[in-house]
């Protein structure tokens, strides 16, 4: 495998913040050399273009930055695209109603990420020309936080448009798109080339909330221990990601081993059991799996409902309520799973859960999903405001 080590990728995700702030490109490369040795190409092309907003290496748009690198020596054949977000791109991520738009490759993704990526696209196209002329085998897309979201979009973009091998490394990344996007990333980039690392108490990977999904959809991810159960800003910081992965020599050791695999049987069991109520990260995780199950299995492949393009999550919820309402009207197993699902949601949002099939009108289903969305987003916002205070995060 051509993947780079957890420590190297985390350090690059950290150093892109300083790289994109350096006053000149020369200083950026002196900085890189002092960190990593003489392993990146600083070509004359860049010299000629300096002053022209940093030449080819610096990607720049209003809401995000990036830095592109061609490896040499031990990194010969490898190219790197590093991303970082800014405060502007985060706007709206925690709103109940998230704007969705269509990516260059035709998938439904968060509108803010999409706009940032698209405005960097012309520069990325130029870089991909450079990649073609340097005999590059692998392109590594790397980012922390919002940069992780851009790295994910970039990996799928490269694979889709350039048919090159891309690796995606993200640390504390938010979710990028709807199920179809996450699924496309999983299939196109390949689950063994996606390294999504997150701390247990980092809340950013929980936003935007469902129906946004992480890639890979196979739940192959890289879970890092952080103390406590309350999300704090401290464990979103890249320096803590760097230190958490520093002792691992490879990604295999970091791979998440779930205590209970979320297969069909365990999801059915979860839907049927009473269990404690309230919003928790774990309950939301199961609920996502359960909604997917009900749509996919009970309705024989209706997963498209949560994947097609909608302008906002509200229109999507409407569609979902409509689908489930149709399911209720069906005889047999499908309607039973809808009842279980609604009961479970009611328990999570803290309402009366004694509902039967005949209570599930279209209006009621709409109300339940709306309440769920609001409740979950409030939970995330509360966690985030704790982070802002305790972590003095900015």
């Amino acid at each position: 495998m051509d993947e780079i080590r957890p420590s190297f990728s985390a350090r690059l995700a950290r150093d892109v913040y300083a790289l994109t702030e350096q006053s000149t490109l020369e200083r950026a490369f002196v900085f890189l050399k002092s960190r990593y040795g003489d392993v990146f190409l600083f070509d004359e092309e860049n010299d000629l273009l300096k002053g022209k907003s940093g030449g080819l290496s610096l990607l720049k748009c209003r809401t995000a930055f990036g830095f592109t690198l061609i490896g040499k020596g031990v990194l010969e054949g490898h190219a790197f695209i590093l991303f970082r977000g800014t405060a502007y791109i985060a706007d709206g991520l925690t709103d109940a109603n998230v704007s969705i738009s269509t990516s260059t490759t035709g998938k439904s993704i968060h509108d803010g990420f999409n706009k940032s990526f698209k405005s960097m696209e012309p520069q990325l196209i130029q870089f991909m020309d450079k990649v073609a002329s340097h005999n590059i085998r692998v392109v590594h897309c790397i980012g922390h936080s919002l940069g992780g979201a851009l790295a994910t979009i970039c990996g799928e973009w490269i694979k889709n448009l350039y048919h090159r091998t891309a690796f995606v490394y993200s640390f504390g990344s938010p979710r990028v798109g709807l199920h179809a996007f996450a699924n496309a990333v999983t299939t196109n980039v390949g689950e063994n080339k996606i390294f999504r690392a997150y701390h247990k108490t980092d809340i950013v990977p929980c936003v935007p909330t469902w129906p946004f999904y992480h890639a890979p959809v196979t739940e192959r991810d890289y879970f890092l221990y952080s103390p406590g159960i309350i999300p704090l800003g401290e464990y979103h910081k890249i320096k803590n990601y760097v230190s958490s992965v520093s002792n691992y020599t490879g990604w295999a050791g970091l791979m998440y081993q779930p205590a209970v695999a979320k297969d069909e049987e365990s999801i059915k069991r979860w839907l049927r059991e009473d269990g404690p109520g309230g919003v928790t990260v774990s309950a939301l995780d199961w609920l996502e799996g359960a909604i997917k199950f009900v749509l996919e299995k009970a309705f024989k492949g209706a997963l498209w409902v949560i994947s097609t393009t909608f302008s906002t999550t509200f229109t999507l919820l409407d569609k979902l309520a409509y689908m489930l309402h149709k399911g209720v009207e069906l005889a047999g197993e499908a309607s039973m799973w809808v009842v279980y699902l609604v009961r479970k949601i009611l328990r999570i949002i803290g309402g009366q859960d004694k509902v039967e099939k005949e209570n599930l009108t279209l209006g009621f289903l709409r109300y339940v999903f709306q309440r769920l969305m609001n409740r979950v987003n409030q939970y995330v916002k509360d966690a985030l405001s704790n982070m802002l205070v305790d972590g003095r995060a900015i």
Partner: protein, 146 residues
């Protein structure tokens, strides 16, 4: 730390020092300081007859409605003397506390304008500078790529 300090971050630590040219203190040199965190903040001081100057720390309040963001602030000080410009300090501050550029101690520098620019990384903050100051740089990280 009191509750009123929540979200208060240091963009550039207070700095005192002496500017020299060919080993001699420079009087009347203009030091222009620029910090940028989303927008530029600029101020300037003039060295006294002993080449001495003092910059107060720059703080900012930063409660945002957004997600937690990394602390990243670019810092610059240029010295203007007898028609020449010297890039004395160009850094990227990565920690929100004061004096992280000098590992917690007051930031006292000595600057020889004819010196070669050097990179120093302290507390994750990278600084290209003509100055010398008392701070142990971060230990070099061992790199294994694959």
């Amino acid at each position: 730390m009191g509750l009123s300090d929540v979200g208060k971050v240091c963009l550039f630590s207070g700095m005192t020092g002496v500017i020299k040219l060919d080993g001699k203190p420079v009087s009347g040199a203009k030091l222009v300081r620029v910090v940028n965190k989303e927008k530029d903040i600029t101020d300037e001081v003039i060295t006294d007859e002993k080449g001495y100057f003092e910059f107060k720390p720059i703080y900012s309040r930063t409660i945002t409605k957004f997600l937690p963001m990394e602390f990243v602030v670019s810092q610059k000080i240029d010295v203007f003397y007898k028609g020449a410009k010297y890039e004395m300090w160009s850094g990227v501050k990565r920690e929100p506390e004061e004096n992280t550029e000098s590992r917690g101690a007051p930031l006292v520098i000595e600057c020889e304008l004819t010196a070669e620019e050097e990179l120093k990384i302290v507390n994750g903050t990278s600084i290209f500078s003509l100055c010398k100051w008392d701070a142990e740089p971060d230990p070099k990280e061992e790199n294994i790529f694959f």
